[in-house]
Symmetry: C2
Subunit: 429 residues, 2 copies
Amino acid sequence: MKEYLNPKKNLWTSLVKRPSFDTSTINDSIDDIFNIVKYSGDEGVSLLTKKYDNIELENLKVEEFEIENSINYIDDILKESIDLAFKNIYKFHKSQLIQNNKIETSHGVLCWQEKKPIDSVGFYIPGGSAPLFSTVLMLGIPAMIAGCKNITICTPPSVDGKVNKIILYVAKLCNINKVCLAGGAQAIAAMTFGTNSIPKVSKIFGPGNQYVTAAKIKSLQFGTAIDMPAGPSELLVVADDSANASFIASDLLSQAEHGSDSQVVFVSLSKSLIKKVKSQIEIQKTGLSRVNLINASILNSKIIYFENEYNAIDFINEYAPEHYIICVKNEDKFVNKINNAGSVFIGNYSPESAGDYASGTNHTLPTNGYAKQYSGVNLDSFLKTITFQKISKTGLCGISKAIETMASAEGLEAHKNAISIRTKELLDE
Amino acid sequence: MKEYLNPKKNLWTSLVKRPSFDTSTINDSIDDIFNIVKYSGDEGVSLLTKKYDNIELENLKVEEFEIENSINYIDDILKESIDLAFKNIYKFHKSQLIQNNKIETSHGVLCWQEKKPIDSVGFYIPGGSAPLFSTVLMLGIPAMIAGCKNITICTPPSVDGKVNKIILYVAKLCNINKVCLAGGAQAIAAMTFGTNSIPKVSKIFGPGNQYVTAAKIKSLQFGTAIDMPAGPSELLVVADDSANASFIASDLLSQAEHGSDSQVVFVSLSKSLIKKVKSQIEIQKTGLSRVNLINASILNSKIIYFENEYNAIDFINEYAPEHYIICVKNEDKFVNKINNAGSVFIGNYSPESAGDYASGTNHTLPTNGYAKQYSGVNLDSFLKTITFQKISKTGLCGISKAIETMASAEGLEAHKNAISIRTKELLDE
């Protein structure tokens, strides 16, 4: 781990920088994949699955009976655990529904907003080293509450050409019966254009590698919306002497095991705590199965000591971490002053793992500093807002002169006329 | 205008289609423009302004005294009009601030959301045929309420190398003191990378032509967020015999004057109304200054008669209009059943012009059918949501088994360990 003592502000730009990946080198192959899927549909997706995953598929859609039967493969303890997580995630996201207020902006001018579900959404669920069924919960539950009618999951097949049973089980819990075997950029292209087996969707959600992210950005050119551009996962912990070194080490390690490109940052307000945490990391990591990935990402991780806590706060806002754990005595100061973060975990007993699975908050969050401008996935991600206005005769008369004057000043005479023709009739009444 | 009588559902796909523009033909020049601005900064922007607008600029930033002095060029009636619009837009967007509720998902597990402003935002304000100062109000007011600290306006210079005084005046009203002379894709590139005169921003807002839209999508690759991809403006009116034909004609014409690519759709539940509206269009358009643009866009516009009102409602949801005017006797049915629209105008005295300028709703809205998945600009567009959680010792014990089981099932042992290390200590207490 690289250590920095009270780094000066002019160093921060480089300290907050994530390893960049030059997407221009992969954009050409993304273009090719989009063209193949656009013009060859299912056949194109199958060809690309053969090429990239070396798997031959007869059918891109998981049969509904396989989804139904998945329940028989899940043990009771896992079922109970998923039920608890489901209940908490449901409760938190349901609380995000808000009341619509009608506002009278001027006398007789009534304006309001209503949120409506996005009809068709698609979830990309990564396969690979771990079957991320928790992401199905995190996307499926708010989509269910929002009322999205058509939900499609795309997930890469395992070596046996199948989808993990737990993913199917959780899909069923979320009332999703369309699960398709497709991974990488070809899955995103398929949800962008639609194929015989994979429906075209209006918005694509979910994490993925650089190819998936580049493909999601490409899909915007064809009118598909996306949740956010995703990058490698990140954790920043801030702590002082009131913290527990072994807890912090366990949190840093939990982030590090995601992959060699995971970002792990420890901001310490205490020099002695740094020593303790480093020693705990060495002790704890030896017993972990993904120790190779951990060693790789620990190499890139950073420990930063700040004597002045206001500098620490400024630095954290500049970094804009995806996950942010606060373990300090005066936690309110750190909580109130955070402007840029995906999800904040407060106190010694709020580890990131809790939010990853079962506390109720969403784990699909902005990485790469994007917390400065993007929200994590929440209920609103599955809704869009429509505005309404109803203006009475009196209401229109009250604002007519303003509209006519402004339309004239913008050179839009027909806009003015749409008002004048109405007010003239009202004067004649 | 093209007329359709009770079109069958299999024709709807082509009827709701907007004229497509193949962005692949312009993506190469967008790439070039981005490279020039990235590597040559202000000098690159100036070169491109010379090349595309044929204007030589000494300074890309409008001097603050010019913004201050703009008030001297605005007449009192326009000032009063802008003040009324400001008040209504402010009131409606202020009402969108919501209270944060803390939710206890399980005993001792407290979760909540907080919205924070996006620090740096950039507005693209088109120049050209009309100085769209109303768009400055529509973006500046919610940004102000949200608390965005750094706001930059980019707008193309007029032939005299200056910015329209009304744009400067409205910028000042919205506390914006950074107005830059840059248009087209080079303005978007400048706000993406930052130059000496034009700051890098986190999110870019505002309408523009196909080059601006393609550049906004390109900017996503570099981590900038955008409000939405924009296309030519649209209006759909649904009406029956209770409507006033001359009002409808005036609304269709107000949309048509935006440009030759404007989309104008009239869905009628009455055959006789169609005749009256067509005749009113002929009468009203002769007096209008932008009659050439109107004639061009009227050519592409559509009149669709539906005998069955449920078919009309389904068609309108499939079209997903940016602006949607409802002038029917039983308006509640049409209001309640709309799922896809940007902004809805209800009744004979709610013309689109009202929402364009002064009723209080926003006029930056999703076009091209994107109302299926995008909201128009509103207060939330300038905020991002952070989630928080604070878990007590008891709270963690209650959800620990679920987290450990799920983390194990996903093969993430260090995630499990971050829980076990805490619960073990609690058991030892």
